[in-house]
């Protein structure tokens, strides 16, 4: 008998039909994997042109965008797949929360997923900074200054990310180091671990097949569906990249920054909170408490057992918490965007 390959270990041989339906998963986990792969491959291609120096960073992006054959496409795919990855992984988290997918031995994978989301946000923020153009300066300053607010470790963390007492020549290289290595390597590790744990924990969360035997989709059919999803997502990604180029301004001069904040969209909620008062409480502690609350859902908040359906009746508290956090994030983001 043929022994399964490594990838066959990561990919389920079959999946219960009710949980293979689009209306159950919304395809969010699979799309996240797809966007993660596109981001990784396009990012690897960008490495051939990006110059992580204060003087050349912005010019190398302009060179890539305007003069390297299909450079605009690679950069655009990297940008848009990264944005979509943030969106799909955030929504995937919400989907898992609202279907109780963290239950029955899957709670450690819930933590891995949360960690992965934090890393993805870090990757997106550092990637945003690597553009090193005039439009990122203020958000980069605000974002890195938030690190300073963290008690005890703040100044050290700030130094790690910024490479000096203020944004400057060393910052580009630091952002680059964190982006392609310091955050990327753990993200890759966590992604593989996350997928592996899905398999190890018994595949996608579903009702007991002993109590409720259902038909299972074989691998061939599942892969077929995944290919369809990837082709459609790839087509949309290409169209999006062709129609909307990521922003690009002139080089950033930290000594002469405009005070217009252009935070990346996923950072707008924090930016809005910061307008309301104390940066330690609103910019650090409040987001950390929200993250902690999410992390505690399977450990201290939710005791339900039902699996494989939306809004299981024995998990109202965790559902209310997840929806409240999602609405809060959405309202804050919208409010900041409309300013």
């Amino acid at each position: 008998m043929k022994r399964p390959s490594f990838f066959e270990h990561l990919h389920p041989p079959s999946i219960p039909e009710p949980q293979a339906r689009f209306r159950y998963t919304l395809g969010l986990g699979g799309l996240s994997v797809f966007f993660f792969l596109v981001t990784t491959v396009s990012g690897a291609l960008l490495l051939f042109y990006y110059a992580p120096t204060y003087e050349q960073a912005n010019a190398s992006v302009q060179l890539l965008q305007y003069h390297v054959p299909l450079g605009w496409l690679v950069r655009g795919l990297h940008f848009w797949s990264a944005q979509l990855l943030v969106a799909t992984s955030g929504l995937h988290l919400l989907r898992v929360a609202l279907t109780g997918g963290f239950r029955a031995g899957r709670r450690f994978n819930w933590l891995l997923g949360l960690g992965l989301l934090v890393l993805v946000l870090g990757l997106d923020f550092t990637g945003y900074g690597l553009r090193w153009d005039a439009s990122i300066g203020w958000a980069l300053l605000v974002g890195t200054n938030l690190l300073r607010q963290i008690p005890l470790a703040g100044e050290t963390l700030f130094g790690w990310f910024v490479g000096g007492p203020e944004l400057g020549a060393a910052t580009v290289l630091r952002l680059f180091g964190w982006h392609v290595f310091g955050l990327m390597l753990p993200a890759l590790g966590l992604a593989v671990w996350h997928l592996f744990r899905v398999r190890r924990d018994g595949g996608i969360a579903h009702a007991s097949s002993v109590e409720f035997p259902v038909r299972r989709l074989p691998r061939r059919e599942l892969v077929g569906r995944e290919v369809v999803a990837m082709l459609i997502a790839g087509g949309c990604l290409l169209a999006l990249t062709s129609l909307a180029a990521p922003a690009l301004d002139g080089p950033l001069d930290p000594a002469a920054m405009s005070e217009q904040a252009h935070a990346p969209w996923f950072f707008l909620a924090v930016q809005e909170l910061l307008r309301w008062g104390n940066p330690l409480w609103l910019g650090v502690i409040l987001p950390a408490v929200a993250l902690l609350a999410l992390a505690l859902i399977p450990y201290a908040i939710d005791r339900g057992r039902l699996l494989g359906r939306w809004f299981p009746s024995d998990g109202r508290l965790s559902q209310v918490l997840a929806i409240s956090l999602a609405i809060g994030f959405g309202v804050l983001t919208l409010r900041a965007a409309l300013r």
Binding site: Q62, Y66, L73, G234, L238, D249
Partner: protein, 442 residues
Amino acid sequence: MRPSARPILLATLALAAGVGFAGVRERTPTYAAYGSAVPIALLPSLTGQPEYCLTCHDGIEEISAAHPTEVFGCVRCHGGQPLALDAETAHAGMLGGRNPSAFDVVEVACGGADCHSGPSDEGLDHIHRSLVSLQSTYAGAIAAVRYAFGAQPDLAARFAVNAVRDPEITTPTGLHSLDALLPVAVTEPPQVQALGSRCLTCHLGAEPLDQPGRRRMTGCAACHAVTNWDGAYTGGDPTISRNESGHASTHRLTTAIPYTQCDTCHNRGNYRLVDMDFHERTDLPAGGSASRLQAYYQPIAQFTACEYQLDCIDCHPSGEVMGDGDLHSRMDEVRAVECRTCHGTLTEGPQTRSIFDADDPALRQAHLNPSSSLQVGDSVVVTKRGETLWNVRRLEDGTFELTAKVAGAVYAVPQVAGSSCEQVVEDQTSSACHECHAVERH
């Protein structure tokens, strides 16, 4: 077809559509709208950095012979992003928008010791002179109005449009600094307040009124970039609208400034102290069709033939128009040209000097003007303040000729000596000469 193959086929079509979008985007870059199928590179020798501005701006005029495109390129003066190929990114960080000579950016765009912030003794301090000149400060008019309404006891300037300092005074009437008028105008007599709110649109840093005939750029380009009646562009750059005001007529800087450029501010009407408002001339025909004489002088004015046949800059040289590098209170403190400067007196000819050095600033200045044939060995007229009038030359036979800086015409300059002129040497006001030499406006 098997049922399971259909979704894959449709999804493949979706991907193909995406690839199609990307293909179209790759084949039709935004700059193609301006005619170029490929990027047009320029490698200016001054910077050594490639620029792609001409990809869209192919056909734009070289700014001047003194700024060859292959030496300066575009970015050295205009800023912006040399590698970018879409308008939004390419224009990010441009200095002064379309006008890098605007006074808030001119030092960065045009300054530097080797450019227009050089030593004054070599005549290279153009930016400093412009910034402290009366045309920028408007100090004379402000002082006159404040004096007229009792806000100050004499005519010495104390205020300018913007606060300005001059660290080095070189003339007896030079001032160290002037304060900005607007912050204090609110506490001044109502007429001064009106001056502050209505009358500060003519200085070089101000945006002009949006009216035909008044359109000009600001900063150095207010004078050196010629605008036409409606302020529209007429040159060869395919990206610039031909139907929109706010442009120089072409992308050219010139020292041959026609009187029409001066008239975008001057000769448009009169300020009346009674209501502290500006009253447009009503004697001008519509649509910019005024003759040169009509445009020059209002009906009651007296003038001589040379005053309207020549252009303004033929008699008002750089030292008067751009100033001498000091802050002054009144025009007469920088006025250097009198009738006798060119026409002499009953006993003496005009003061002259000879050009001995090929690097003489006057010769450099002359060579910027295509009409000039001045060369080493020539003798030219000098004003009482020592400024050389390079366009008034003494010929070998002792006669004088003036080369019109704009039209290039050459005029013999009649001399007072040996004529029947009743000149009173001490009285060099124009009205004294007008008594005999004035001509009527027809």
